[in-house]
Amino acid sequence: MFRHNALRCTVLLLLAAAALFQALTAGYFGLEILTEILILAILVLALDIAAGFGGMVSLCHGALMGVGAYAYAILSAKAGLSPPVAMAAALALTGGCAWVIGAICARSHGIYFIMATLAFGQMAYSYVFEAPVFGGDDGLGGIARLDLSLIGVDLNDSRSFALFCLAVLGAVYGASVLILRSGLGRSLAGVMHNEQRMRALGLTVWRVKADVFGLSGMIAGLAGVLAAQHVMYISPGLLSWTVSGEALVVVILGGLGTLVGPLVGAAAFVLLKHELSALTPHWHLVVGVILIAVVMSRANGIFGWIEACWGGRAERRAAKAVRKQKTKEVLSDA
């Protein structure tokens, strides 16, 4: 169950301050990176809701993001809908797709769930990759950003766009907390801890899973819409399973089921990648070693490590109990 505590609030505030500072002062490339982080952060929040709080470890969130991006691109660039309408429609579509995937996969657990979601993601990928209407593997260009000139904001400016993404991320974070604190979110925690008992109590488990997966997918779709607007060009690579895999790595690296952790993870991952790729073509090697080192430090990701340093005994115990429980669950399902 999601709990906000002093540590989480502090980290959150620090992150927000850092992002804001960066958005206001960074150069072009800094803004590029910031925007990349912010969009990835939205995606990993979506994934954390499903995986960290619902045990639904998904390998199709990249594809869902892609669906959002393509839906927005097609609807705005080809069907001529105005960006806000196209955006709303894209979100609805992604949410709907995710809901259906969640409903279909609800009976699977652990690695089976992962693979089932992978299957849907790959189907979407193959379809987009091979469909000439979507530009095939050459992708689609000419995507417009949202027009906020009404309120005096020009999103075509990198800085405004970064600030806009930051605002959206803030809203998504708030919404995620609300979802997790709602009746649905509580039931989700119950389902993750003991699905059999929830069912015996009278809960329609698959509905809860599908609803949450739908919401999570909608958020992933939002990340996709933003990504499409950011790059103003999309290609099927967006839907590839490696994007989902990377998102999953970021969530785990940051701290699964902490909501704040994945944000830290997104920032750390993107920064690391950029710093390293400037230094060596073999940056994968270094990233790999760092991933391994983080895990070997035995914390629940970076955030778990921060938590440990913070030193709250109760916190640590809680984290451990939850982690142990999670482990058991995913394993016993496998």
């Binding site: 072009y28 490339f29 091979e130 050459d138 260009g141 000419g142 790059v231 103003m232 060009y233 290609s235």
Partner: protein, 372 residues
Amino acid sequence: AAEENIKVGLLLPFSGVYAALGNDIEAGFSVALEQFGSEAGTGFDIVREDTEVKPPVALGKAKKLILQDKVDVMAGVVSSGVLGAVRDMVHGAGVPLIVANAGNDEATGTSCSPYITRMSFSNGQVNRPMGQWMYDQGIRKVYTLAPDYAAGRQMIGGFAGTFTAAGGEIVGQDFTPFQKTQDFGPYLAQAKASGADAVYVFYAGGEAISFVKQYDSFGLKADLPLYGSGFLTSPLYVNAEGPAAEGVITALHYVPTLDNAANAAFVAAFEAKTGRLPSEFAVHGYDAARALVEAAKAGARDRASLADALRQVSFDGPRGKLSIDSATNNIVQPVYVYETVAGEGGLTQKVLAELPAEADPANGCEMAPVSN
């Protein structure tokens, strides 16, 4: 002095599936700068960025090169997806880009730009001449195979168009899932059963190696000769293909065995630098740098003047006489039909025919000239 140097952004994959291509292009590029750089009348500062073959990453890197590093010109781009991603940015910012590989027809067609000059090839260009040529060899029925993605379809389309126009018949066509097909057995059996006189394919990289070896292992080469786009037996992969590649006849805009002085110099310089024979990718890099030098020689220094000068370059290179088609900014170059044969130091390319250079159709390209 450093201020007068032309700042060049190299946008290439140094990691990911196309890393080998990126490295070859870069090597070719630096060989050319060493060889001709002194003629330019100015120096070149190189900034390299790794695209990872991911369009969003590439776009980010392009933005960095353009906005932050303020490069005067960019060169590189291996995959068509990456080219699609950076096209609007490059066009909008007015930074000349010398394409050193990506071959999608649209880049010099519907989405052409006066700032984008292609020194490599286009998918249709290298396959089109083979239709007539194969018909002239007496081949009437062909089965085609290619990976299922835009380049695969364009390559096969280029060939099929001219082959059927010449009077030939495509008796069957398969597009195999791109980068997911490792076992071509099922498709080969189909081809064999189709009653074709020959098979025409496009595969590249790892897929090319698997394909050629499997084609041979099923014993198809004897009854059903294998033709294709020259990437199939590129010098980069042909040694891994081994004897299975012997006798395969393909067409490409460059092979290292071309007999001309420029090529001899290039091959020697490239071998000295890398210890390998240059591939068609290396020549893209080489000629891209050469074009840059030619443009600088003509006095171009800033983005606009470079863009303008680049579309007018023309020189005799390793591939023969090259020029840029002013209607599309695509390269115009001869295409060579070659057979892979056993030589002293392994497999080598025996050129069977030189098919004359032909400009691509405009393909919907409408271009405003760069203002001078």
